[in-house]
């Protein structure tokens, strides 16, 4: 009996979670192009078409710790990978279709942040491990999302209506790369001695 009750509660919670979500169109516009800092003192340039990826993360409104942001759920599309990374379609521009923000009230607000990287790494973790150029947008808030449970269903809200200008993907400076290399070498030596 107890088991049945727990199962029923779990199913109920799961179905509530399935409906508790808002939707947005993950895109930017000409005023919020993602730029690249070449790291050699020269001017910023737009991220190259097909030269990298961006990913949308969310957290409850008011969150400021980037570690607390979670990936959104992505609807499969031509411009988004199975890992939820959207490629640059044109210099500095992305448009990856509708993504779902789980665990917020339908149509509710959310804090968002976009992270991006250059190269072909399929995930953020891979890009970081490979030392690829990476960057974060400022944290921003979308005051309302689309409510897919409304009748008729509410339209997804375009991220580009609130996505701030100023996202820069930085190529690691040579000194930073050297430091990272030294650290890795030290780790290897330390492990070998142990």
């Amino acid at each position: 009996m107890k088991k049945t009750l727990i199962t029923l509660m779990a199913v109920g919670a799961a179905s509530t979670m399935a409906f508790a979500q808002g939707t947005v169109s993950f895109n930017n516009n000409a005023a919020s192009i993602v730029m690249v800092d070449p790291g050699d003192g020269s001017a910023l340039v737009p991220a190259p078409a097909n030269g990298g990826f961006v990913q949308l993360l969310w957290a409850p409104v008011g969150t400021t710790d980037l570690n607390l942001f979670q990936p959104t759920l992505n609807v499969a599309g031509a411009n988004i990978t199975e890992n939820g990374a959207a490629r640059f379609l044109a210099p500095g521009r992305f448009a990856a279709g509708v993504v779902t923000i789980p665990s917020i009230s339908p149509g509710g607000a959310a804090a968002l942040v976009v992270r991006g990287w250059l190269g072909t790494a399929p995930t953020w973790a891979d890009a970081v491990n490979q030392g690829a150029p990476t960057g974060w947008s400022p944290i921003f808030t979308i005051p309302a999302t689309g409510d897919p449970t409304a009748l008729p269903p509410g339209l997804p809200v375009a991220v580009n209506t609130v996505f701030p200008a100023g996202m820069v993907i930085a190529v690691p400076e040579p000194t930073s790369m050297a430091l990272a290399g030294l650290g890795a070498a030290a780790l290897l030596i330390f492990r070998r001695r142990k």
């Binding site: 516009n29 599309g77 031509a78 044109a90 897919p148 008729p152 269903p153 375009a158 580009n160």
Partner: protein, 213 residues
């Protein structure tokens, strides 16, 4: 949204594949024309595809041609049956991904500049049938003819039609035995190339429109 149908005035009636037998003549009539739809900058317009493209290419790039150079970040939204799907227009690139827009399929467009889009193709003649499955369907007439749709006999009790009024929805309900709660019991006035949501609360329905030239 202002829709101008120029079919009546500008349609070309092409009589093709004409041949005769001893008893009868058989004619194949293709009505070809276009439908212009005016879009207001940054306003959602709920449209439907009213014509069959002559080349059979139903991709959005062939159905919804925006003004390149002044439409950046425009959007097209389609309904999968359970969720929205969206694509963006990038000037110099076009639509961000392929998307099929079938005859009579409804979709939203939000253009970022005032412009007129033109549907071009053949008119479907005879009886056109649209299946209204249980749940939500985003549809429009399969022929470029305005009317009160879908008809007083098409509906399950408590079904609803949602018509986009530019910034909000108008709701029309179906009451069994009475018809639609719009001014005309056949349903709300639906313009040429206008889409609407049909919420079917019962069994699947068949909505038919007949056009015989």
């Amino acid at each position: 949204m202002r829709t101008k149908t120029i079919l009546a005035a500008a349609a070309f009636i092409a009589a093709g594949a004409l041949y005769s037998t001893a008893q009868s003549n058989v004619y194949s009539l293709n009505i070809v024309g276009y439908v212009n739809v005016d879009l207001t900058a940054n306003q959602y317009a709920l449209l439907s595809n009213p014509l069959k493209p002559s080349d059979g290419n139903y991709d959005v790039s062939n159905i919804v041609k925006l003004a390149d150079g002044s439409s950046d970040s425009s959007q097209c939204l389609t309904w999968s049956g359970t969720a929205w799907e969206s694509i963006d227009w990038l000037d110099g690139v076009g639509w961000s991904e392929p998307k099929n827009i079938a005859l009579g399929q409804g979709f939203f467009v939000r253009a970022t500049s005032n412009q007129t889009i033109t549907f071009v193709g053949e008119v479907q003649t005879g009886t056109s049938s649209t299946t209204l499955s249980p749940g939500l369907s985003l549809v429009g007439s399969k022929v470029p003819v305005a009317g009160n749709y879908p008809g007083s006999t098409v509906g399950n009790d408590s079904d609803a039609i949602f018509v986009w009024a530019g910034s909000a929805w108008d709701t029309i309900d179906y009451i069994g035995g009475l018809g639609w709660t719009s001014a005309d019991p056949n349903g709300p006035a639906i313009g040429v190339a206008q889409g609407f949501f049909y919420n079917n609360t019962g069994a699947a329905l068949n909505w038919e429109v007949t056009l015989n030239p």
